[in-house]
Symmetry: C2
Subunit: 557 residues, 2 copies
């Protein structure tokens, strides 16, 4: 019987976080400790390393996710450990997990097996309070809006056009759609509104893209919170909200340092949705990693069609950073599902299904090449995988001019990613990376959406009705035309139909709605049903979460 | 021009929190640091000091508050520093301020002048995240309730009788009264509900009364969250909510250590409302203080009629602790207001008004005596006070057999409370304390309310309609009859009319509504309008809060 993630994590010997900091040259007095094994990095220190040259940047992405699991975070951690193992100074950059979903279906999000970041309970619960701070900043703005309307509405909000909602870091479907300000004159003007989960907040997206506190404050001020009757935009800065919001986020914006099970350094910082936002950890953490380590390994949300595309077209574009190599994670199990096998049949060898499913991987490989970055495929090995299945993957990938490396970090830690690490180093040192975004700033907004749909999703084109086209044209006229687009579609398919696995073609991408995230600096194109406030299942995992007699947390994982 | 609180605080030299811990014998490795100047005390250490004898306990309370200000927290801090100055090992225990109101009218709540606790910005903002944890635990329970109803409602909730609301640490009147679960089948069953501010949560009250994690979990499970159609109570434990709620509060329940401007130790932990809850810091912090110091100085919310009465009848009763002396804080300014002077006339000497206002102080002194604890009056000196005014107070108090000491901690720190500290030590060492609660557990619920109204408020009696009486009788039948009562009335008057200053007599206390806080372990008697979700003013202080060029927080104080 193999050990559970939490058992492995508890057996690990964590080093004091000051020792981890010391490994990458951060003096103890520049660490704001949160207990013995978590710390934030001071602004003074971050400032002091600004002029250092950047290390290399490696993005870990994946095939289109399936219920079989891919292990992207696990592979990111495994690769970081592997690079350290072969003598490279490597840093891992991950997203912070959301607290809400921990009480729903999924467990934690801190890797797995022998490729984890710790302390995993803390990381999955309040951690260093960043998400609470983001929620408070968001909800302060909400309160200021209704308060402004209450006291006379000088800015002329059309109460039907207040676009700014509220957030909670909780799966709570009852709050999706509410009427607020009931109960009479003292409580304001009733209006329909609702709550999203904190990770869906534009404040979260801004937090993750901001380059320092000053930039954060400017972006917060640029949030569009609603419109007048004449459809004139009202900004957060019109409410003087950006000052107190920045104050609430002052500590949160310092990157969080933790460690892997092998005591290597990892930043875990920020965690925006990968559909209505860009799905990567903070620019602060990634930039700090580049200054502190030779190799910074980071991940992006969902599959490469969403996560990597946004990493390149939004995060890298905005932050002025460029990746040196990409790792695309796949599993035999997931490829089988893309090849048409049902979840309960995944335990049996099925080389044909793997071969069929490889078209999903193939398109992701070709897509990544369009950004000018060399890629390697990491096959995250599961116990029931067969050699024949692995061979099928390796042969297919070789035909595309790339290489697929079998990785065993889940079972063996860094020993299982040594080969992957060597390959990544070879790719990076080969110096073939010539990063480019998929489209220029000057491309029209609709054309940007169309470019992603055709080039990345393999669609024939997009469908957008007049309302959407008019809205985009209006934003271009208003000066938002140079923004990149943030595609919100299902992660389960290249198309907008989540049941279409593999690499569908001939499809059309319907753009149902567009939203302006003026603070974050992108236009969200909504192509399908996007849930911004999850619910809990019939038997939520909360039912099994408790402290045991030793005071340890049970049931979280 | 005298310095502002924040200027004084910034000039202070904070010592590393490990040094502060060392002063009271806490080893550095038993401190969970949150940055260099905040720390939580580990459970292991708290466990290790359980068998030590208790030090002395001093409660700081005040006359009925007025807009003139009394300075109770400031005096608590000043007395703690004063006791340390005269060679006593003294610990201060305070409540954590709520984040929401910082953006409304008031500034911070960490003392003032040269009697402050620091780091004050942190203490007033997220601090160590306790309130966020309490909010998350509260809202998890809320989500579990609606989720349970959504999936079939096996427990048989009457949706009209769900009593558990949601909370946010924000002043947001728009959330007082809402309809949730709109938008169709997928979002649940629409019902009317609302949000309170986090400090008004029963989870907050439980958190502050809990004696360890096990007790916390039991109390959380005992929360009544709603009723069936047959009016049968449904508990949080019926939803298996107490386990995950305790997990969310696991770190929060460790007391927070900070320091005064004079580098003396202070616990700041928990902060329940002083109307619908009991208004004192955690039992955890107070008990830890008693084990660590010779003198523990703590405060209770509002005036002595509310704060001290609840401290005695709820906190001391439940926690099995007993106070050795009480300090009642008064100011010349506030006494003048009790004597009928308007706020804009407070700058002029008015001995007659002071004398008239002293009846308010007098009743508080006599009330405290009913609990068997000796008291001293601390006159928190303001610049425009005159000797004649001070003399009037001292003579009046002397007639009641007590002493009034003029204190200058605001201007001089511990030098200004040396005399008060000496007096407190004399009172304590006199050993006259013979603490008793005002009523026995076995007194009927209505009789308990009546006792407080007559004995403490000076009322002729109470008025309660049949519905209230029936409800209390029902709770007695259900086994809740031994609970103490938690009075929720205006803090501005002994009566329920906030405009009646001084010491009104002949009044009746109307009990409008009663609520069961089964987890916290008290019955709330609501006597007047009680606001559990504040709003923001026309020009909220948020408008002026921002980071300055040095990265310091402006406008918070």
């Amino acid at each position: 019987m193999s050990k559970s993630d939490i058992e492995i994590a508890r057996e690990a010997t964590m080093k004091p976080i000051t020792e981890i900091g010391d490994k990458i040259g951060i003096p103890a007095d520049q660490l704001m400790q949160y207990g013995p094994s978590k710390a934030k990095i001071s602004y003074d220190f971050l400032q002091s390393i600004q002029d250092r040259p950047n290390g290399k940047l490696v993005l870990v992405t994946a095939i289109s996710p399936t219920p079989a699991g891919e292990g992207k975070t696990t592979t990111t951690v495994g690769l970081g450990d592997g690079l350290n193992r072969i003598g490279k100074k490597a840093m891992i950059c991950l997203r912070e997990p959301s607290l809400g979903p921990c009480f729903g279906v999924k467990g934690g999000a801190a890797g797995g097996g022998y490729a984890q970041v710790v302390p995993m309970e803390d990381i999955n619960l309040h951690f260093t309070g960043d998400f609470h701070a983001i929620g408070a900043a968001h909800n302060l703005l909400s309160a200021l809006i209704d308060n402004h309307i209450y006291w006379g509405n000088d800015l002329g909000f059309d109460e039907r056009r207040v676009t700014w909602r509220r957030v909670l870091d909780m799966n709570d479907r009852a709050l999706r759609d509410i009427v607020s300000s009931l109960g009479g004159v003292a409580n304001g003007f009733p209006r329909q509104t609702g709550f999203d989960i904190t990770v869906a907040s534009e404040v979260m997206a801004i937090f993750c893209l901001a380059d320092g506190l000053k930039d954060l404050q400017e972006r917060l001020g640029a949030i569009v919170v609603g419109y007048t009757r004449e459809k004139k935009a009202i900004y957060a800065r019109d409410l003087k909200a950006e000052g107190p919001m920045t104050v609430l986020l002052k500590d949160a914006l310092m990157p969080n340092l933790v460690q892997t099970l092998e005591n290597n350094p990892a930043f875990i910082h920020g965690g925006p949705f990968a559909n209505i936002a860009h799905g990567c950890n903070t620019v602060s953490a990634t930039k700090a990693g580049l200054k502190l380590a030779d190799y910074t390994v980071t991940e992006a949300g969902f599959g490469a069609d969403l996560g990597a595309e946004k990493f390149f077209d939004i995060k890298c574009r905005k932050a002025g950073i460029s990746p040196d190599a990409v790792v695309i994670v796949a599993t035999v199990r997931a490829l089988k599902m893309h090849g048409g096998v049902a979840k309960d049949q995944l335990g049996e060898e099925n080389v044909e299904a793997v071969k069929k499913g490889l078209e999903n991987l193939g398109r992701h490989i070709r897509n990544v090449a369009k950004f000018g970055v060399p890629a390697v495929v990491a096959v995250n090995k599961f116990i029931k995988d067969t050699d024949a299945e692995h061979r099928a993957i390796q042969e297919y990938v070789a035909e595309l001019g790339a290489e697929a490396v079998i990785c065993e970090h889940w079972a063996k830690g860094s020993e299982g990613t040594e080969q992957l690490a060597q390959k990544v180093v070879a790719l990076v040192e080969g110096g073939t990376a010539d990063f480019r975004t998929l489209y220029d700033d000057d491309t029209g907004l609709l054309a940007k959406i169309e470019t992603v749909a055709k080039e990345i999703y393999g669609a024939d084109g997009i469908a957008a009705d007049k309302k959407v086209r008019d809205q985009l044209a209006q934003w271009e006229a208003d000066g938002f035309g140079k923004l990149p687009v943030c595609m919100a579609k299902t992660q389960y398919s290249f198309s907008t139909d989540p049941t279409l696995r593999g690499a569908p073609t001939g499809h059309t991408v319907p753009v149902r709605e567009v939203r302006l995230s003026a603070g974050a600096g992108f236009i969200v194109a909504i192509c399908g049903e996007i849930m911004t406030m999850p619910g809990l299942p019939r038997v939520p995992s909360a039912n099994h979460i408790k402290l045991n007699e030793k005071g340890q947390i049970e049931g979280l994982f």
